[in-house]
Amino acid sequence: MPKKLLIVGITIILLITLAGCRENPAGSKLKTLDDLKDKRIGVLLGSIYDEYANKTYPDATVLQYKSQSDLILAVKTGKADAAFFNHESSLELMRKDQELAYVGENLYKVPVGTGFNQENDELREEFNQFLQQLKASGVYDDMVKRWISNGISDMPKIDNPKNNGRLVVGVVSDKGLPFAIVKNNRIVGFDIELSERFAAYLGKELLLQDMEFAGLVAAAASSKVDMIASTIVITEERKRQVDFSDPYYELGVSVFGLKKNIARYENDQALTPEDLENKRIRALTGSAGDNAAMVKKPQLSSPLGDFFNSIKTSFYSNIIMEQRYLLIVDGLKVTVIISLFSVVFGTLLGALVCWLRMSKNWGLQAVARVYISILRGIPVLVLLMLVFYVVFASVNINPVMVAVIAFGMNFAAYVAEMFRTSIESIDKGQSEAGIASGFTPWQCFGYIIMPQAVRRVLPIYKGEFISLVKMTSVVGYIAVQDLTKASDIIRSRTFDAFFPLVMVALLYFVISWLLALVLDYIAFKTDPQINRSKGGIGA
């Protein structure tokens, strides 16, 4: 135990040290937007910027990131030289992060709208009327002022009779301020208030489905949600999949990068404490010495105390502030629930497939063979999306259930073969002896073969189980808020990569470890060597 903890500790320290070692990646500094032409430009996956970036800077490398926090992290760690981002969200970012600065602001404006299934003209019309009314009443201007201009992140109270059913709206909770963030374990933001007000206008109860941005359009197109509202830029391509409302906002597009890589900040000596901090870490790890910083701030010379201080700060901002621990706890619950149910479902299905595979009937055997090779040949994420967006396209089904089905199906294909191997490894003589003494084939399997097969399969089963737990980290794609998604949301708020990631890594490790312990316990229980000592004679 202490040894394990020590290893984990060393790993964390190494990670942080490595992070401090990052070098200035840019060859030349960015003066104008034209300098981007041969650089690495980060964009959000599924956003419209990649097209723009590709067209405007054909020689540049366009890198796509899954979430805004990944995008910002990429710029900060020098993986991308600059990033395209909507201006409104970047305002909040610039307020928070002194390391970053604009290369260009508000390059152009793009209209955004809410999206609807193409069959659902009625709802779209209602939204357009609602939008007109909102603008006429001045509420819209007030919303823009509060969320976008002033950066206030509180939701007002909205009266809603909730007597007209439900309105399911697909949103992206880590979109970022001012549009959507998670605060005190609740999704808030401009898009959310808009949805709330629309729901109130309809008298419907609002149900928010938190998804990945890339999955939004598909969700609306397959009627998984009634409406999607996540500052979606209206493009021709998207129009083919969904119908858009009238534009409700004009989004600015800005480019930002690291301040130190931008020419006009070259002489900017106003170092923030954070900058000093970074330089100090660099000095400590010996990559880019800055003795001046050390001399200037001698009180920082206790590295360990400082390390714990920064951990404390990170802990506060990532866990305590805005009750973010609730996110983690909920995510943890979802991850554990999906893991456990998938394992149960997958094991039962796997047993069935194994039975078919071992059947003497050629047809049944073929079914099992095909099932196993197909399911093993599809990446689990693809399978997950297929099940969600294709198989259950028109069925109203809880995404957690979809996750359980998809992971269970995948798990079944692997464990079926494990079961078969372990059953076949029990020598045939024992079942012959059972049959000869009058057991039916099923009794023989239950009393003689299975207890031994279970014991043999447990070690590999355990490994597969643990890998399943980790595989569940992709459920964010179908709007399930699990542990990984929780950390994404936190990162989108705090712009702190290391703490949430390391914490989530630790939590996954702990879950896997605990679940493995449970299986070890079962293995212990089924060990005949241990059992016989208590199976006394007179019992």
Binding site: I426, D427, G429, Q430, E432, A433, G434, I435, A436, S437, G438, F439, T440, Q443, Y447, I448, P451, Q452, R455, P528, Q529, R532, S533, G535, I537, G538, A539
Partner: protein
Amino acid sequence: MIKTEQLCKRYGSLTVLKDVSTEISKGEIISIIGPSGTGKSTFLRCLNLLEKPSGGSIYINNVDLLAKDTDVPKIRQKMGMVFQSFNLYAHLSVLENLTLGPVKLLGKSKAVANQKALELLKLVGLAEKALNLPDELSGGQKQRVAIARCLAMEPEVILFDEPTSALDPTMVSEVLAVIRRLAKAGMTMLVVTHEMEFARNISTRVFYMDEGIIYEEGSPEQIFKNPQREKTRAFINRVRSFNYHIDNPNYDLYAMNAEIEAFCEKHLLPPRVCDHILLLVEETLLLQTDFSDISLNLAYFEKTGHLEFRCEAAGEPVNPLQEGVQSDDIGLKLIQSRIEDSQYRYENHKNMLFFKVKGE
């Protein structure tokens, strides 16, 4: 008690059992002997349907085993089986191996089953191993546990499928002793075995199986002392034989010699004896005049160490062993120095020569 009619079993084109019809009554102890691959085990395994017969019928206590509505597992409960490879349940202790069947199948309480199991373990001398796992026992101990496991089901008949074949010689006797004890107690048993002395001592009846049928059956006296049929005799006396056929004067002497050498090597005959045989064969062939149909046969009696050589040649009757027939007697002298006894007969238009080859 057990009756089979025209029982046969085929695996694809291979016929293992051709036509086995027999009747076994209560209290009989049947030993089934015979060379390997002649269907002894298959016959036994057909009796409790571990192998499904391809034809014929089996009656156990007048119940047709192959009828659709027969409760086969129920009948199997009354027919214990002991396997060559023991087949103990590896995950259960010795005691649990004995109680699993009685508890799950006969509906006995655990306490009753345990008590009975311990008695049986005492009977086979393994009470102190009750809580051990099968893997911790020696082969002989495992087989005794397997027998006790059978007895725990209170069977009416026990089928032994080569119970000592997988044991090393030091452990054979402990298992045989247990089986003898059962025999004394009057248990009906069918034993497939290669232990001839054992078969002779305990059986009430012996089946010699060959060619997919019960080739010869009778009391142990009959079968072991005075077997009627040739294959039975060869088997009982453990005769190993070698045949070679020549149909023209230009036969390949060296190929034949190589085969004879291989035969000698296989049966561990000393090189000197082998040389005797080679010379004997060669000289005998030199005495022949008609090469259109010559059969050579070497028979090695493993039990006694005898070696016999027989040469049958078609043609006019002529005894080459008679002095004066040949131009010189060198060949004859060479032959005589290497044999103990010789005979000549003319039968079925064939000159038959018998030699008893000298040992070392």
